[in-house]
Symmetry: C2
Subunit: 411 residues, 2 copies
Amino acid sequence: MALIVQKFGGTSVGSLERIQAVADKVKKFRDKGDDVVVVVSAMSGETNRLIDMAKQMQVKPTARELDVLLSTGEMVTISLLAMALNECGCPARSYTGGQVAIKTNNAHNKARIEHIDVEKVQADLNAGRVVVVAGFQGIDPHGAITTLGRGGSDTTAVALAAALKADECQIYTDVDGVYTTDPRVVDNARRLPKITFEEMLEMASLGSKVLQIRSVEFAGKYNVPLRVLHSFQEGPGTLITYEENDSMEQPLISGIAFNRDEAKLTVKGVSDTPGVAYQILGPISAANIEVDMIIQNVSDDKTTDFTFTVHRNDYQQALDILEKTAAELNAREVEGDNKIAKVSIVGVGMRSHAGVASTMFEALAKEGINIQVISTSEIKVSVVIAEKYLELAVRALHSTFELDQVPGDEE
Amino acid sequence: MALIVQKFGGTSVGSLERIQAVADKVKKFRDKGDDVVVVVSAMSGETNRLIDMAKQMQVKPTARELDVLLSTGEMVTISLLAMALNECGCPARSYTGGQVAIKTNNAHNKARIEHIDVEKVQADLNAGRVVVVAGFQGIDPHGAITTLGRGGSDTTAVALAAALKADECQIYTDVDGVYTTDPRVVDNARRLPKITFEEMLEMASLGSKVLQIRSVEFAGKYNVPLRVLHSFQEGPGTLITYEENDSMEQPLISGIAFNRDEAKLTVKGVSDTPGVAYQILGPISAANIEVDMIIQNVSDDKTTDFTFTVHRNDYQQALDILEKTAAELNAREVEGDNKIAKVSIVGVGMRSHAGVASTMFEALAKEGINIQVISTSEIKVSVVIAEKYLELAVRALHSTFELDQVPGDEE
């Protein structure tokens, strides 16, 4: 008997039939004797429908009022799911974020959870009830409804699991786990039975959109075991947890992430003096353009080259801004390329092994793929290559690092 | 400058365009310098849509969860209206029933308001904001969401007006006021500029469905001046208030109400002994059938006849029950008629004038209309007649009591 927090996203509760299926799944855990708290999102499409209405009422909807509107999406789901559970003989009670209470700061539309009162939830669990909680929403110090931003339901689930000291937080999705890479690109991509929080963070931020980054951070911080599972298929999914001590069994590389949403910009021949990075990126950030990679190499004369990547949608705007800045800085020239892709190998195992990066570069060279930019962190190596080589590069790396093979006796 | 509570029902906020129109109307009052609290219902059709979903999840939806679901309807409207007000330069803030707080008992789906905290509302009014409150909903002592039952938004508006000591509670509807009778039956039916709470109660309970009975009772109890107005047409509407002292100006009769939703049942020749009324009506009430009129005349032998009316939908069931009861009581016979109509004249003026009832009976007799049953209260006389005479009776009475004439210098 365990205490489990289960989170079902918009697609998993996208119709009355699916809500019914979720109730049946929850009942199976109850029948085994587990205590269950269920966190649900709004039915798929509902949040967009509400935002669309808001925009018709107000050009830039008041953040406080938008949160009141959006919070209704999850309220519909929690009440319907509680009814379905009651109907199938699982006594259940629903709670809005405010009722739990999930206390947040007052940053409407992107609030942060500050504290969760678990008394009511605990009392219902003790009374043998399933507790159904609205994801994505909370209440600020003034009693106003807040929302946590897109994907906030994952955060709600993890935060509740942490506050309740749950044995596991299960995130039900439309995939059956975290894979070594995208199975649409590599046929023999393999589901990982286990992955560390750090690896998952690198995989998620690089575009493997299985989990919200914030919820993984949160789970890591409070050491909540997180499991990614398929909503409608049976299977063990992928457990995300802390690195185990016996790193002997740890594979070098856990997965290969990639991202084709980026564009690269370079300003060449700028004066290599303090403050130049700020002068270049200041106007970009002032235009609310998010920058991903930033690379500046050592310079051998008094000028340097400066490269960064932005989301492809922001490419043209960033280029216009950069050309203006370059003129002001008397830079030699500005280059841009929006036909690039970023490929990264991720794995906590590379911490203790030299040569992982060179193995990567060798594999790419063998395929005749030119590396434009390199960036590394403790547990990942990222390269930017021409977009047309993306699939080739991912397949070559997947094979080089033997990701299709089950390592040791792990499974 | 006055403090006004305005209530807009589902039809008045039935589309984004209409919510916009409500915002424009509210702005006009603000521009005049009035403080305004707006109470809104769910967009028309929304509550039925939600109930329909609930019934698909659970044969008999859990009352607590149904309230969570239904409360979302008004939350959508309050947030959209607050946005529309903010957009047109009227700073506004929305509140759910729980946020105000509108405290109710825990009778889910039909909760009663016990107390309203007005601090937040008052603070917003003082800060120059329009306050938009979700009608129909409240919060129980445990923090659970409750709803007040159909039409509860009127009650919310009146209760808020009472708690805030508002100068007037305006109920916006799809009619421009309360009429002497249904204009679809009598061409020259006249809008009443004023009517008393008691008269309104009699008119409403008799089928002039302009206002919820509960809200009229509430307004009367707390002496909140209530005004019925048209949502999209200009005009003074009808003011519902206490009887004025100078009853010289008071017309004898204010209006004629009617109802064709009833059926009549009579059991003849039952023993005229204590307890017989209970023996007859007990099984009817046990079957959850509501009884309207109950008439028992003096009997001149040891048996009596007993007549009552029920809603026409309950006619067959009531007849079956009554036949069983009649057999047990050795009654002579049972009669029923579901082709009847009830017509009532209503007016506080009849208190001080004899002869009103006989004027009514004379008018009906002149038209050859047989009266089947008579029942009276202090300010009304009701008769049951054959349904086919309904329109004829209403027109005859409207003309006899000169309801098309403006009495004295009232207007």
